[in-house]
């Protein structure tokens, strides 16, 4: 009895979470433009998607900005962590507090502030301004995920490497960097997701004629949404799912290997 209730409970949660996404996927294969009537299976919304230069442009923009912003933020953020670690604790705490403010700040405030900044320095708004804005809001997340990896333990490992005769550069590359790697990777992935996800800041810092997926959908909604957007969303969802499965399978295999050699 208890078990059945538990199962029903899980089922309800799953339905709430995935039914909307399932609806979206089903509708992307619908022949008609209707959002409620199923008229038959078709791939022509996918065709429209790949033929639409507007949408393909938005996809390329979204992902190229996300990758570039995440890369730049990761490099800048990691360097910042190295600098901060060399500071006195009090200075570092002050800096850390400044680092945390942008993350707590409402996106709308950050967006408008960045827009005003671009207007003030008369920086033309377009691809570069979006990239700059995204890099800016990603850096704090990188700092937050890398900083904890650099601690007393890494200091000791660094000293141990020096003790064994390594130069500071070599010790950093071979010993400290691998220790930071998990933090750097999660900082990069976090930045990438934040950038793909962002709408508000992009909306305020983009110029006319440039769109990312989120701003494109927003403008489409105003003139009536087309099912080719469902197709786009489906592709994004399936891609994320596949990546997630690959990462999990790999982790599983690694764990098993580790257990076997133990």
């Amino acid at each position: 009895m208890k078990k059945t209730i538990g199962r029903i409970y899980i089922l309800i949660i799953m339905l709430f979470l995935y039914l909307p996404i399932l609806t979206l996927i089903v509708l992307s294969f619908n022949d008609a433009k209707s959002m409620s009537v199923w008229t038959g299976f078709s791939l022509h919304w996918y065709e429209e998607l790949f033929q639409s230069r507007l949408m393909m442009g938005a996809i390329v923009n979204t992902f190229s900005i996300a990758i570039l912003a995440a890369l730049i933020a990761t490099v800048v953020g990691t360097l910042a962590v190295l600098g901060m670690a060399a500071m006195k604790p009090r200075q570092e705490n002050v800096l850390m507090a400044f680092n945390n403010i942008p993350m707590l700040n409402a996106d709308i405030v950050t967006g408008i502030a960045l827009m005003l900044f671009f207007l003030m320095v008369s920086w033309p708004r377009g691809y570069m301004s979006i990239l700059f804005a995204h890099t800016t809001f990603c850096i704090p997340y990188v700092i937050l995920s890398v900083r904890p990896r650099l601690n007393k333990n890494t200091d000791r490992l660094f000293e141990a490497a020096l003790d064994l005769g390594a130069s500071e550069k070599y010790a950093f590359r071979k010993i400290v960097l691998p220790e930071l790697k998990p933090g750097i990777m999660s900082g990069f992935l976090l930045s990438f997701t934040m950038s793909v996800d962002d709408f508000i800041i992009t909306y305020f810092t983009r110029g006319a004629g440039i769109n990312t997926i989120s701003t494109l959908i927003y403008s489409e909604v105003k003139i009536g949404i087309r099912p080719s957007l469902f197709a786009l969303s489906t592709i994004i969802f399936v891609t994320a799912l596949v990546v997630l499965i690959i990462v999990n399978v790999r982790q599983n295999r690694l764990d098993k290997e580790m257990a076997r050699s133990a």
Partner: protein, 361 residues
């Protein structure tokens, strides 16, 4: 034995806290030297200065006749076994041991042979492909040793290497370390706060407190002839008492005169106020009234080999700590006596520094 390391008046402070107050120390080739002291006494800082991880504010460090005070850590011919081993977690056991040799561009064959030799030496034959987190604390300790000694250092610095191990393993590793030292024939500079470890393994013990060296000597010298109350208290159990020299080679403790072997010649003239140390195992129990003084047993504790007893003197002023193989009951009245050579007379602390040390106990 020729001198290998010399510290010359090393002074070091962090922010405003004095950590080392002028350390002078000489370490001979092939010697097993232990720096012993409570936490915060400056022993680790001394080791880090020799290792090249800290720069002294004043003073010089000499190594084999050369001034190495300003030489960076990676150019010194010594290796360290760190307190928490500091093994590289993303490398296998073999890669950890190979690290120092890779840095020096040794041939792969040389590295392979050396890893094998080192693992055999620390009794971990065949473990080179294991991951570090698969190894127990004791094994990690051995790997840290292996990683250090494959570089053929002239001195091995050991920073409380046994601190994280349980008692039995710690005792085993003490024998291992002495064996390793003999096989390698190199100098060991060992740091610990465990007096037993220090006495068991060392050729020379250096007792430190508050950034000063209190006493240095062989384990026997340190134990039998502590120079002050701090050393006596830190090394083993002891009765530390106020006394006064009443005549030549006679000291009065709690109204009783005891003959001893220190007199004017040793710097203890009559009427001088002194500290007296009597080790608990040096007090003999005799029938009541037949000893030099009497007392009543107020507590008794069996601690393995012997009994430990607290005995209150007749006027109730002093509690004596006694260790004896024979059993006596609580409440029993006993007589006690002590041989003159087992009474250690020490000067009372005089200088400000010494009284500061005194306060810290």
């Amino acid at each position: 034995m020729s001198e290998l390391i010399r510290l010359e008046h090393i002074v070091k402070s962090f922010d405003d806290t004095m950590v080392l107050n002028g350390i002078d120390l000489s370490i001979a080739e092939n010697e097993f030297v232990t720096l012993l002291g409570p936490s915060g006494c400056g022993k680790t800082t001394t080791l880090r200065i020799i290792g090249g991880f800290e720069k002294p504010d004043e003073g010089r460090v000499w190594f084999d006749g050369k001034d190495i005070t300003d030489l960076p850590a990676n150019q010194r011919h010594l290796n360290t076994v760190f307190q928490n081993y500091a093994l590289f977690p993303h490398m296998t056991v073999g890669e950890n041991i190979a690290f120092g040799m890779r840095v020096k561009h040794k041939s792969e064959q040389y590295i392979k042979d050396k890893i094998k030799y080192a693992l055999k030496l620390v009794n971990l034959d065949g473990f080179q492909n294991r991951r570090i987190d698969q190894m127990s604390g004791g094994q990690q300790q051995r790997i840290a040793m292996a990683r250090a000694i494959v570089n053929e250092p002239r001195v091995l610095l050991l920073d409380e290497p046994l601190g994280a191990l349980d008692l039995k393993l710690r005792q085993e590793m003490q024998y291992e370390l002495v064996r390793l030292k003999k096989e390698l024939g190199i100098t060991f500079l060992y740091i610990t706060h465990d007096q037993e470890e220090a006495l068991t393994m060392s050729d020379k013990v250096v007792v430190m407190n508050n950034g000063y060296i209190q006493q240095q000597g062989t384990p026997e010298e340190i134990y039998d002839e502590p120079v002050n109350a701090f050393v006596a208290d830190f090394i083993g159990d002891s009765n530390i008492l106020d006394g006064q020299m009443t005549a030549e080679k006679v000291v009065r403790i709690d109204g009783v005169d005891y003959p001893c072997i220190d007199g004017t010649e040793q710097g203890f003239p009559p009427r001088l106020m002194v500290d007296v140390v009597i080790r608990p195992e040096d007090i003999d129990i005799v029938p009541y009234g037949q000893g030099q003084w009497n007392g009543t047993i107020i507590s008794k504790l069996f601690i393995g080999v012997h009994y430990e007893m607290l005995v209150q003197s007749e006027d109730g002023k002093i509690e004596w700590l006694l260790q004896n193989y024979d059993q006596h009951d609580v409440g029993e009245k006993i007589g006690m006596k002590v041989d003159p050579e087992n009474i250690q007379i020490m000067h009372k602390p005089k200088s400000e520094a010494e009284s500061a040390i005194e306060l810290d106990i």
